[in-house]
Every structure is written in structure tokens, then in C-alpha cells.
Point group: D3
Chain length 217, copies 6
Amino acid sequence: MAGLSVVLLAAFSALLALAAPSLAGDPDMLQDLCVADYKSLEGPLRLNGFPCKRPENVTATDFYSDVMSLPGNIGNPVGSATVAANVEKVPGLNTLGVSMSRVDYAPWGVNPPHTHPRATEMLFVLEGSLDVGFVTTAGKHFTRTVYKGGVFVFPRGLVHFQKNNSGVPAIAISVFNSQLPGTQSLAEAMPVASLPEPTDVLVRALQIDSGATVHVV
Amino acid sequence: MAGLSVVLLAAFSALLALAAPSLAGDPDMLQDLCVADYKSLEGPLRLNGFPCKRPENVTATDFYSDVMSLPGNIGNPVGSATVAANVEKVPGLNTLGVSMSRVDYAPWGVNPPHTHPRATEMLFVLEGSLDVGFVTTAGKHFTRTVYKGGVFVFPRGLVHFQKNNSGVPAIAISVFNSQLPGTQSLAEAMPVASLPEPTDVLVRALQIDSGATVHVV
Amino acid sequence: MAGLSVVLLAAFSALLALAAPSLAGDPDMLQDLCVADYKSLEGPLRLNGFPCKRPENVTATDFYSDVMSLPGNIGNPVGSATVAANVEKVPGLNTLGVSMSRVDYAPWGVNPPHTHPRATEMLFVLEGSLDVGFVTTAGKHFTRTVYKGGVFVFPRGLVHFQKNNSGVPAIAISVFNSQLPGTQSLAEAMPVASLPEPTDVLVRALQIDSGATVHVV
Amino acid sequence: MAGLSVVLLAAFSALLALAAPSLAGDPDMLQDLCVADYKSLEGPLRLNGFPCKRPENVTATDFYSDVMSLPGNIGNPVGSATVAANVEKVPGLNTLGVSMSRVDYAPWGVNPPHTHPRATEMLFVLEGSLDVGFVTTAGKHFTRTVYKGGVFVFPRGLVHFQKNNSGVPAIAISVFNSQLPGTQSLAEAMPVASLPEPTDVLVRALQIDSGATVHVV
Amino acid sequence: MAGLSVVLLAAFSALLALAAPSLAGDPDMLQDLCVADYKSLEGPLRLNGFPCKRPENVTATDFYSDVMSLPGNIGNPVGSATVAANVEKVPGLNTLGVSMSRVDYAPWGVNPPHTHPRATEMLFVLEGSLDVGFVTTAGKHFTRTVYKGGVFVFPRGLVHFQKNNSGVPAIAISVFNSQLPGTQSLAEAMPVASLPEPTDVLVRALQIDSGATVHVV
Amino acid sequence: MAGLSVVLLAAFSALLALAAPSLAGDPDMLQDLCVADYKSLEGPLRLNGFPCKRPENVTATDFYSDVMSLPGNIGNPVGSATVAANVEKVPGLNTLGVSMSRVDYAPWGVNPPHTHPRATEMLFVLEGSLDVGFVTTAGKHFTRTVYKGGVFVFPRGLVHFQKNNSGVPAIAISVFNSQLPGTQSLAEAMPVASLPEPTDVLVRALQIDSGATVHVV
């Protein structure tokens, strides 16, 4: 069992590197604009979201970003990389309830099973083709192949994944009804590191006896 | 003045051809899925949104569409065409509060000033470059050029536009935090056809005397 | 065309004088009261809405205003004046999601086409009678005459107007489901001042050739 | 005690006659319009709100009402009468989250303590002057006199009242951020009729011994 | 009449002792956590809710409380005591829209008629049995007996009560869809202390002549 | 690898038996009550939530249930059983945004890692003591022991678990700000059954080579 724990903990670090920061939601707007003032992050307190810059300090650049113009580094174990244009990169998104990201996939690369706790995702395939799917809380699986130019929807809060189904790179543009949707990976869902005898929980959850072992190459 | 009215009415028909249907919003989800049942449109009553298909009739295809894989027809007076992947095309979007659209621009083409009454828009430039801008309710203008790979935000309900600033075609992917954001064009904002002496309202609004004339080529 | 630009820019200044500040919405209440503390406007940061006064400093006067007891100045080009009792005048409205305004109309005066980006408006005719109307995002016009004691509804985000249809002054009481609904006038919707060659956008939008001219008395 | 019960039961019927129907709220809009189809009330099921008329059946009159042009009958024990222009009278208000009412007051007439469970109220004094007030959940009272042309705010869900403080009639226009706010009077708050020995609850609530009596003229 | 006022004022103080603080609601979450920083209460301004602790200062204890492990003091006139585990006791509840409370009842004890302005309540009977009920805004009463292990629902904003219907103590666990639902008791609904001649309002509301008297043992 | 898949598929069936139906949310209330009419489930269409019974058919029993008075069957592989009092059992909860459940734990029993996509959970320990925890989207773990009478909060959408940390049975009462929160278990998060070569996704997600094996006793 310890062997499996080690493997999972290794997977954690790999997947945590892909996890977006933990914000998400869709606030009520009380004004046209509430451009995030990042300086407030230095203060002692935080808000649910961000406070706003003074109007006289807001410029068109607060609503712009070129962060999605280049791919992320797909040289990682899962073979995919996400670059997010969210409220942490585009301060003008604060209170507006929407954001985007770009996902690049190596040949046969995978964006592993994960959830966005507070956003629905809609994915547009820009290059290549993907096998995608999600699972409902009743355990029903919806999966299909999405080709270049196609879109697919992952409902709010449900576990979903994408997999490049060919030997050529793929690119997707994803959109969220949240200024910072957050990402919780399946690996993080295994609280191995968090209990007095953590493996007990995993053993009961996966119905594996304590003698189970996993061999890693 | 009558001349101007005629011109505007002509502009209406051109722009109305581009107007998306009039739905928009972000409902509260009471279940994982509420896939729109288009058959309900034949009934005597309508809902705010759509009723749901029975779960046993839902398939992965309800969450998929290839409508954005081809450009719209940009052979129109303004030189742009929008193809929307919203709840009218992707029934699985019902109650999920998000949608996308693809906008193609002819050289120097314009997506004329318009609003989305109940959605914020985030635009990603896929090809070419665009001059974009929006106006706040205080009358402040925010404009800039967005190059390939760049994003820009148009806050909910505010008038905005895009213009292809070069002689080569351009393409944008727009996203909305609404299942069907709706589009109200500036021309529709002129209620020329709606009063006993409609031109009076326009004259007062634009501060033009009744003798004003506009020559059309 | 330059002539028209000049006229429109003149119209802007006239209409901007009527534009309410750019706030609107309907927040979630987390407490009975959150009376706006205007002093916070002096600080470096702003919120989406206002912070609250300390409870011990709140008095009944925070929920009261007599600002609507007198008419605004209707001596302007459009012949109407709006006096708003919103969160900027009644601090107790903060977080409560409602506000009112009084509109006075000169004989044949017009409240020009405009939108409230984040509020529905319901209008009550206190004196005189008005021709009113709004336009849906599908371009359908709904208009009628409203007599003294009558009410009419302008749905959230849609362009609407009122016109005094007689030679005697008129008064209306308008209500909004927002603490500060904001107003975006049709004229502001024309981004003449915001592009390298702004008139291009207008020409494409209105389908007017560059030779068009407008004569002003 | 029984005597007091009788008196209260008498008060109920008087106050119930003033109670508005029990709806209130502020839904999410998924389309420009969802005009209530009253015919649906004949069906076996109801919705949270109303279903919509088919768009082709909607007319400008759906957004209009003259119900507030005449006063209600103030010939009742409390000396006030409310006429509401809500979604039951103005079908176009459905899903739009706002409504109005007109309150007429006899000399020294009272609109007795009541709550609107799901709406904030803002009151405009059209004629005369009123003593008004509300109570917070912490038991703090906010009261003052509002003169002709003045406004006052009653925060969502809190008990409030108005009293004509002079010997001449008064009129108020009230607005709500709900399509049908509902009214729960103080008298209804006493569940005298609802228990095996109802007076027990009242005795414990009011700390009155069973021997208490009230003499009615 | 003065006698009744005195009795009511006495009841106020008894009931005020039971009133929870005046907060309630269900905000939009923009991040996983926004743990209330109580230190902010020392500052000059307040928010709608609380600002958040810096993430590095959050611990598991912020999400824990044992306040409900002991009963409140039921040695009061009404014979019930409420202990709340809300955002004022569990800082981790801030922005999460839920809270609980424990109610202990003396034999035949009453939780007097009250409302929670911004929350629905669901009650679970842990020990004993209760007669419970609520009243709709249309004045319809819904009441029944709930035995050990049973649950009952009190819809948002409506007046409701519970009464121990036996000679043995009872305990209930109540839950709310608000981080701090607030409680407004029926007694607070009587603004006796808030007008120049307060008793006038009560006389008109209860239809009692000024000569009415109440004898207290 | 195939071995592990088999084990996981076995775990699925065990965990699926514990999964609550897939509804959750917090709607806007437009009326006091909208009691779910279960008969509507026989019709061709479904709503987001339920339609309402006609008011004349609503009784107090619609707001009552004794389903939580008895434990579920804990004779299952994970050693815990959940009994839910949600809108499927208590029709009066429809549109009210709250529900409860009872969880019974065998000695050392586990409620395996899971999420509620659209609700925050607050747990009250009725008997025994539990080790509990949740994981943020940033991968931070918050865990502790909760003793009899203690409460703990699991923020909306985040993976969490409970484990009976002793040899005696335990009982918890959980509450949700949703009428039907839904449950997605960790096992369902592994889409083993949903791809052409499903194990590939798992291999990439867990970083296990295809030669990995798991021995089951």
C-alpha cells in the first residue's frame, strides 16, 4: 500500500504544477467596471474577489492581455499545458464573471480528470482533435471526439478530461463563466497526506487491501 | 430629415440580419443538466429559458456542435459575420450560463457598435488584428488594437465595437457568460419607426434641425 | 461627414449632462443594512459598491432624501431633466438593489433613447402624458402613450425613450431594481472620438457615404 | 385572554383584506421578455413565477397598466389602502424583478406594521406627510417624518409601517425590487388560530397571564 | 393602553435577549475560501459580510466550532434558548451561505413567532417533540407536530414558531441557507417605542380602543 | 493495469450505491411556496427543479419528513450510509435552497472522498467522533478531528471526506445550501469506462506505467 501512496504523492506534485489558483464565481455588478487593484494583495486583508482601482487610473490595457498568444510548456508527465487569461492576468475581468484559457496538448497528451468548482467550461478545438468527456453526479459518462472547429460543454462542478487522440499536437480555447474558475485535479481529491493513517481512507475508498502494491518502472 | 430616416431604416435591415436572437442570462442550476428540449417551442407557452429533455434522452451530442467550424457570410454592408454557438445551437448549454461565437471580418470590415444586454464578452483574436473599444455609462471610451493571440474584455451591457484594421481578413472567438447573450445594434437603438412623428425624437436626440439632409451615393 | 461628427460631439456634451453615474446592480445582502460610507471615496481603493458605516453611526436620515422634491433644469437641448435618488444620494440604499428618479419634461420634451445596462425601469406618469417605447434585441418595437396615473415597463438593458406628447409640462417617477442603474445614451453609443479614423466606423454602421452632410441651423 | 384572542382575530380579517398576494423575488433573465401568460393558472401545475406568452402574442399593452390612477378604498379600520401594479396586474413584469404600488391614507390613517419577505421598499410621498419607520433584527428602530417629495427606504424583510401624521389625506408611491413582493402583516404573525391551545403561544410570547382581558368599546 | 405598552416593552427585553445578530444572505463565491477576519471589526468601515484573512493565516480550526455542544440557558420567560453556529462563531462560513443553530426547549417552552429576513430554515427534532407552524403572506397557516427524528421547513422570510408540546425538555437542530440569518421577533414588530404617540399605531393595528387595559399578575 | 481497472470498477458500483441524485442549487424565490409536484416527473419534459402543486393542494405534510429518523444500511464496503431529506423526499423544499442528510458510520467507517458540485456542507457530529478534511483547488489540505457536538464546514465544490476514528458507531447531521446538493464520488472521477482505451487516461493521470498491477486478496 505504501508503494501506491508513493506513486500517488508523485502524481500530486506533477498535477499540482498544473492547478490554476483557487478562485471562481460570478458576482453581482454594482458598477460598469471594478478593475482589480493587485497592490491590495500586499495588505493585511483580502476580499471575496478584488477591490477596484480608482477610475482615473483605469486604462484600456487593464482589459487586454497577450498571455494566450504563446503555448505553455507541454514537457510534463501528462503532456498538456494550460495558460489562463483570468482575473489574475486581466485585472479588468474583476466582477465580470468570465475568463478564458488556452490548452496545448502533446501527441496523445492528456488534460487529466479535474473539476472547476464554480464554473461551467465550454471548449473550442483550435487545432487537432480531442477525446473529451464528463461524468454526472449520478455516475453517467458523456464522451465523444471533438474535431477542429467543434465545441463541447463541461457542466459546472462535474469531473471532466480531454485527451489528444492523435500523434500530432492539438490546441483548445476554453471559456468559463467565472473570473477565475479554479481547477481541482483528481489526484488532489485523494487526501493521502492529510490523516493520521491516511492510507486507511484510500484503502476503504478504492476497496484495495493493505497488501496491494504498484510497481513503477 | 426624411432622407436620413430612409438611410437609417436601410441600415436597420442590414444590421438586423446580424442580430442574434434576444435571449441572455445566467440561471441558478438545480441539477447537473437541463438539456433544452426544442420540441417545447411548438407548445402554447414558453419558459424563461427552456424545459429539459428527459434524462434518458440526453446524449453526448447534446453538448457538441460544429457550427463554428465554418465562417459566416461576410458579403454584407458592414463586412463582418457572426456565427453563434449558443443554447439555440447547443441544447446542453441550457441553464449553464455560457456560450461562444465566431466573428469573421472582411478587410477593413466592422462589427458595428452594439450591446449584449445581459452578458460580458471576452474576445480572442484568432487571425489578423482588430481595433476594438467600448464606452462606459459615464461616456468614457476605452479603445486599443488587439493583435493575433490577444484578448480584450467588453463589460456587461456596454456599447462596444470591433474593426478590422488591415486589408487582410480577420477572425475572432468571442465568449459570453450567458447561454444566449442577445445583441442590440446601435441602429436598433434609433426608434425611427416607432412614433407618430418618429423623426422628432431623432432630431432632439441628435440636435439636428428638420432641414438636415443626407446624400446617399 | 466631419459636419455630422461635430453635431454628434455637440450632442454628446448635452446628453452627458443627463447621464447618471455608471453604477448598477442588485447585490446579495449579508446583513440588514450596509449604509454607504462616502468617506471611503477618498481612499486609494474602491469596492464593487460601497463599504458600510459602522452601525453606531447610522441614523434614520441615511434612509431619507428630499432630492426629488424639486424638478431638474429642463432648459437644455432635449427638453428633459432627470433627478436621481440613488445610492449616491441615499446612502442607506447600498446593497438594497433599488432606486428611484424624477424626470421633468418641457412641452414636447424628449428623454432621448438610452439604456440602463443593469436594471429594469418601471415608469409612473405623475403629470401630463408621454409617448414611450423600447426596442428588443430582435429589433421589435413596443410603443404606446401613457397617460397621467399610468405605468410602463422598460426591460433590463434594452434601449428606450420617452417624449412629452403635448404642449404642457409632464413629470414621471421612475424606479429601478438597482441601487444606481446607470444610463448610456444613444449618442454615447457612437464611438466617434475613439478611433484613428473614427468616422469610418460610423460610415459603415450607418451606411452613409463620406460625402454625407448635415446642415445645422 | 380569550377576549384578546377575539380582538386579534377581528384584527386579522381587517388586515388580511390589505394583504397583497404572496409572491416576491428577482429572477435571472434568460431573454428580453417573458410576459406572464395568465391562462397557465388554469392548468394543473404552477411555476416559480409564470410561463411566458408566445412572442407573437406580446403587445405593448402587456407592459402598461392604469390600475394606480385611482385610489383604493380607505374606508377600513386602519385608514389606508394599497393598490399594487405588480406581475398580477402587469404581465410584462414577469422575470423583470420590479413593481410599484400606490398607498392612500385617510387623515391619521395607518399602514400597519408589516414585512415584504423578499423585497426592499422605497417610498415616495406624493401628497401630505407621513411618520414612517422600520425595525432591524437587532431591535433598533429607525423612524422619521417624510414630507411631500421626500423618499424613505425600508430594507428587505424588515418590519415597517407608515402613519399619516395630519388631518388631511396623504398619498405615497412605493417601489419594490420584486415582481410581486408580498405583504405579511403583524397580525398574521400571531398564529392564534393555528394550535391546539393557540393562546398558550401568545401568552408566552407577550408574557401576559391567562387572566389578562381587553375591553372593546 | 399604556398598560399593554408596558407589558409589550417587558416582552421586548425578554425576546431581544433571544435575537441573533442581524446578518443573513448567500453571496457569490469568487474563491474557495474567504475566512472572516474579525480584526476588521475594529476598523472604521464595515463590509457587506467580512473581509478575508490572508490565506497563509487560515487553519482547519477556522472551519470548526464546539459552541453547539452545550445548551443555552432556558431559564427565561419563554422557555427556550438558541445557540447559533454562524459566521460570528465560525469564521470559515464567510461567503459560504449556510449556518446552523441548536434550540433547547424547557417543558412546554416556546420559541416565539419570528422571521429570518433572508433565510429559509429547516428544523430537525433531536429530542422530544414540537408543535411547529408558519404563516404565508396570504395568511394561510401550516402547522403540525414533529416528533424525534422528524424535519420541518420554514420558508424564507415567513413568520414561524415552535412549542414544546410535552412536559419533558426538547432539542432541535436548525439549519439556514445563510451565513447569519438574523431573527426578527414578533415583539420587535411592534414599534411601540418609535413614534410621537406610538400607541396610536398599535391601537389602529390591533383595533383596540384606547381604553383597553391588561392586567398583569 | 487491467487489474487496477477491475478493482476501480468494483469500487464504482460500491460507491455509486451511495451517490445522491444529481440535483443542487439555490433558486430565486418568486413566491412563498412552490411545493414540488412529483406527478410532473411522468410528463415528457422536465424543469430546472420542479413545477409547483396548485396552492389549494398544499398541506403541512409537504414540509415534513421522518426519513432521517432511522439509520441507513452501513453494511457496505466503505462502512457508512447517507439518508437524505432533500427535495426528492420533502416536496416543500422546492425553490427554498436548503436540505439535510443523516450519515451513519460503522466503527472505523469512511464516507469516501467526494464533492457536492453546487452546495457548501456544514456537518454536526451527533454521536461519536470523526476525522474530517477537505482539499482546496490549490491542493491545500484542511483536516481535524470533530468530537460529539462539534461542527465543521466543507466549502462548495471542494473534495472532502469523513472517517469514524473509533471502534464505536458515529452519527452526523449534514446540511446544505441546496435543495438537492448531489454527490460526485472520487471513484466516479475516474472515467475508466468512457474511452476507447480508457486506461490510458488513468495511466497518464496517476503516472503509473502500463505494467503496474494491484493484487487483491
